[in-house]
């Protein structure tokens, strides 16, 4: 076999970046598997935790927004179901965002001792967030049975929106984890975004409540598009998608993804020196 010659010099752009990434796919799988194993081995209640958190959030939001604030649901869908569809999207987004943005710092040893494309680390954490998502999805099915709610054909489009949620968290996640290596203050940004975002995004209420003239502006929050997409899939035609806003959300997601990946690639060469 012809050996490859690799030349290392300052500022050299990686020509084979994506091919290199493909070559390290097994490491990606194994790191993802490690994150999942450790997560469920360390916590005493393990899987129950992935079930309890979204369920309790849904319970609280339903009580506050439906019973106390008397907000209407989308169409005639049960309010709790509408909230849970959003909680599903939101907790997937927030878990992957927070795990991805702390991932590099948490793997300091690896970064200073071995070479591999660094993007594998934040990307692998998202897999464990996805497992949590799958577990919560079974609660959703349980709730559908409880409410005797039959979803439509739209449910089969859900994976597309799951990917959108994944990309929405990957962009900012990559950006923040790279910044986190240089400036440790950025780790305080994430809990703030997650906490604030939960109320800014239409998790506890329907986005139909937003006045029409503000709706496009509201869709600048990429999670608005994702959550509306989730509701459209899960609740069937009872929740309509606001298309101009949805397109805008996708553009914002792609913009952040580009920002995250390009910044990450620019900074990743100096990670080992800075961490």
């Amino acid at each position: 076999m012809q050996d490859e010659v690799l030349i290392l010099e300052p500022g050299r752009a990686e020509k084979n970046y994506w091919r290199d990434l493909w070559r390290y796919r097994e490491l990606f799988i194994i790191l993802a598997w490690r994150d999942i194993c450790v997560r469920y081995k360390q916590t005493a209640i393990g899987i129950a935790w992935a079930v309890l958190r979204p369920f309790l959030t849904m319970l609280v939001f339903t009580v506050i927004f439906q019973r106390v604030a008397k907000l209407p649901s989308d169409g005639n869908a049960p309010y709790a179901l509408m909230v849970f569809a959003a909680v599903l999207a939101w907790s997937f987004f927030s878990t992957s965002l927070s795990e991805a943005s702390n991932s590099l710092i948490g793997n300091e040893r690896l970064i200073t001792k071995v070479y591999f494309p660094r993007i594998i680390i934040p990307a692998a954490t998202i897999v464990s967030a996805f497992i949590d998502f799958l577990i919560s999805f079974f609660i959703l099915l349980g709730m559908m049975v409880y409410y005797r709610f039959l979803p439509g054909w739209n449910l089969f489009l859900l994976p597309a929106f799951v990917i959108l949620a994944l990309l929405a968290s990957l962009g900012p996640g990559l950006w923040i984890t790279a910044l986190n290596v240089k400036y440790r203050d950025f780790r305080y940004v994430i809990p703030f975004i997650v906490q604030l975002g939960l109320y800014i995004s239409p998790v506890g209420f329907s986005s139909n409540l937003i006045p029409d003239k503000w709706r496009l502006l509201y869709s600048l929050n990429p999670m608005v598009g994702v959550i509306n997409g989730f509701r459209w899939c899960i609740l069937g035609g009872k929740s309509q998608i606001y298309w101009p806003g949805f397109v805008l959300s996708i553009i914002v997601v792609l913009f952040f993804l580009w920002l995250g990946v390009s910044n990450f690639r620019r900074m990743e060469k100096s990670f080992a020196d800075l961490i």
Binding site: L8, E9, C37, K113, V114, Y115, F116, K182, S270, D273
Partner: protein, 447 residues
């Protein structure tokens, strides 16, 4: 850049630069106005750095440090080369550049073939996972594919001698088992180029011998090996050619025995080392090493001690998070031979129940009595870790040859040697003045 077929690594004018910041130590800010001015200035410069995407560096003055400078060498395929030099000479930086962990700042390196680096055994081991799981994890991290690991799995397990504990989490392993497993995985790597940094400095003597044997196989198997070590015996055994680095430059490149002689002659004792900039000091977010010194009883740093003098080892460290902390020190002789070990008193009392240290700067001093050590050079390896975990699982700081000092015998009659006029030799690790009593038990009959 052209690279011939039989060359595995070629470095041309290779350089690596770091920026470090210095705090003005003697500047005293008494007036509030001064403090405000200074903080405002620092805030402005940091904001500028942040906007330009440059790393923020603490301190008033910036300094460029070249960890590697104008390094040129070629390594032939199948050659094994030793790299020696003092701490901070750039040995580890060189390996890190070659295996792509960090980017060079100047010059270039061409590398032919798959590179695997072994800068630390057990990189990425997770204490919660079982031995079996860690073999797969660590193997993947070191660059093996799953099929490759599956093929070598039985060999790895039997080399490590852990058959019975395969499904036990490694946090329950003894340190011997842990190191054996970690080395076993690494030893079964089959890259074209292998970079090894000090990994033989672990484990018991028996296992070290086994590791050296394995390394013999590796170097004889036609692989290209770059081998960094402070252990001259190991270097001598494994490498024909050796590069001596000094302050980031190549000071000598040639036959191993000549290189070792050159190194031993040229190295001066570095009896103190300190890190004024905490962010670049060795350690992690829990604790960082700030200074290590070798002083006399009077607290003055000295480079030479008479064998009769007591020696004090001072270790200054800064704690950032409340933690349990213990220090372990190894004393190493001139040839890399292990003389003795000592741990600070923190390990007294019931294990794991020691009161934690709060954040702050601390100094530990270790007192070695006079009339105890043998003459020759003495260097110090230092570990700082957090009980109740063992050092290899919780090391915050792991420094080899952090400081060293010369112990001289001035042939004074009140020392341990008395008036013995001949060479004593540096082979004995210690040469203490012990209490000797000789008495006549009985006169011979007939006198």
């Amino acid at each position: 850049m052209q690279i011939l077929k039989d060359i595995a690594i070629k470095a041309e004018h290779l350089g690596k630069k770091y920026l470090i910041g210095h705090q003005e130590e003697n500047a005293r800010y008494v007036a509030l106005r001064d403090v405000l001015m200074r903080n405002t200035r620092m805030f402005l410069s940091r904001t500028k750095d942040l906007l330009k995407g440059r790393p923020i560096i603490q301190g008033d003055r910036l300094e460029e440090i070249w960890a590697l400078r104008d390094v040129n060498f070629k390594v032939k395929r199948g050659e094994s080369i030793g790299i020696i030099g003092r701490n901070g000479a750039g040995k580890s930086t060189l390996l890190k550049v070659i295996c792509r962990i960090t980017e060079p700042s100047a010059g270039r390196v061409a590398v032919r073939g798959r590179v695997a680096s072994l800068l630390e055994v057990g990189t990425g081991f997770h204490p919660e996972l079982s031995g079996r799981e860690n073999i797969y994890l660590n193997g993947a991290i070191l660059g093996m594919s799953r099929t490759e690991i599956r093929r070598k799995f039985d060999k790895i397990v039997s080399f490590a001698e852990i058959e019975k504990y395969l499904d036990t989490p490694v946090k329950r392993y003894s340190s011997g088992m842990y190191v054996r497993l970690a080395f076993a995985v690494a030893a079964h790597l089959e890259p074209e180029i292998l970079l090894v940094d000090e990994v033989l400095a672990v484990g018991d003597t028996e296992f070290q011998k086994k590791c050296l044997g394995k390394m013999d196989d590796v170097t004889q198997g036609g692989r290209t090996v770059l081998f960094v070590s402070h252990n001259m015996n190991a270097i001598q055994r494994l490498c024909k050619r050796c590069i001596v680095l000094s302050q980031g430059r190549i000071a000598f490149d040639g036959q191993t025995s000549e290189a070792i002689a050159f190194y031993l002659k040229s190295r001066e004792a570095n009896q103190q080392i300190s890190w004024p900039d905490a962010s670049r000091a060795p350690g992690d977010e829990v604790v960082r090493l700030r200074a290590v010194r070798i002083t006399g009883e009077d607290g003055q740093v000295r480079s030479q001690f008479d064998v009769r003098d007591p020696v004090v080892l001072q270790i200054e460290f800064q704690i950032f998070k409340k933690t349990q902390l213990a220090i372990s020190v190894q004393f190493i002789g001139a040839l890399g031979n292990y003389i003795m070990a000592s741990m600070d008193n923190y390990i007294n009392g019931p294990w794991g129940e020691q009161p934690p240290y709060s954040a702050g700067i601390y100094k530990s001093s270790c007192y070695i009595p006079g009339d105890f050590l043998n003459e020759g050079q003495l260097s110090i390896n230092l570990w700082i870790y957090s009980p109740p975990l063992p050092p290899y699982l919780s090391a915050h700081v792991r420094m080899l040859n952090v400081v060293s000092v010369d112990i001289c015998d001035n042939h004074q009659p009140n020392g341990a040697r008395g008036s013995f006029p001949y060479e004593w030799g540096i082979e004995p690790a210690v040469r203490p003045k012990l209490r000797w009593v000789t008495e006549q038990l009985k006169r011979n009959n007939g006198e």
